[in-house]
Symmetry: C2
Subunit: 139 residues, 2 copies
């Protein structure tokens, strides 16, 4: 399969650039993560998907991989819920609706939303990121 081969090679080189060896587990997880469009996953949900696809990988490796990919800029971690951590395959600038009834994230494109009037950050610090979470409920 030509396409798959090219994707793997591309992913492998992305990983190498991030200082990560392109192991079977990383390549297969990357396949799951990036094959489809923008996605929001938890470690458990990705692990479940891997299992369902016949990919053999431990939960610990899923956690490691999600964090390594996040550090490498391939994923963005989204904190909306005290209970679980979400990872977003969309690393462009954007924000989120968070549906509290169904624990679901929905992207808001970065060009539609803007935060104005941000004060200077506390002395000795610099702004890392501005996160907007719009909490919504059925009703």
């Amino acid at each position: 399969m030509r396409k798959k081969f090219r994707e793997s090679a591309e992913t492998a080189s992305r990983l190498r650039k991030a200082g990560l060896r392109p192991t079977r587990q990383r390549l297969e997880l990357a396949g799951l993560l990036f094959r489809q469009g923008d996605r929001h996953l938890t470690a458990e949900s990705l692990h479940g998907e891997a299992e369902a696809s016949g990919i053999r990988v431990s939960l610990a490796t899923v956690y490691n991989t999600l964090h390594q990919f996040t550090d490498a800029g391939l994923l963005r971690q989204v904190v909306v819920d005290a209970a679980r951590s979400y990872f977003d395959t969309n690393t462009r600038e954007h924000q989120h609706f968070y549906c509290e009834d169904e624990n679901r994230l929905i992207d808001i494109p970065g060009d539609s939303i803007a935060v104005a009037g941000v004060p200077a950050p506390p002395k000795g610090t610099r702004i890392e990121r501005v996160d907007v979470v719009i909490r919504v409920r059925r009703g």
Copy 2:
């Protein structure tokens, strides 16, 4: 002590209005929470403070109380860190800097900051709250 008595009576009636019995534990925790100005606490930190003040209260009760006060609108829960939950005694509209180096929250007054271009919420939902977290780091 006149002042303390009045505070207790006021707190007691706030609790009653929220359908909560003004028990010793709730009154004493309310004392710690609201005596000082705006504060950001975790369950553990409040429990520690209580211990230090000679207030006898279990950690389970601290958790219960924080949630009950939040439901009653006396506190606001702030989600910034996947690890721990913060509770904010400032329930006015406002936002936060989150200092990732020291796990510390800093209030941003609601009148200085504004979010523009919020799209319509997903079908069948209404906006509950708009949370802005500005993540900062030393540097």
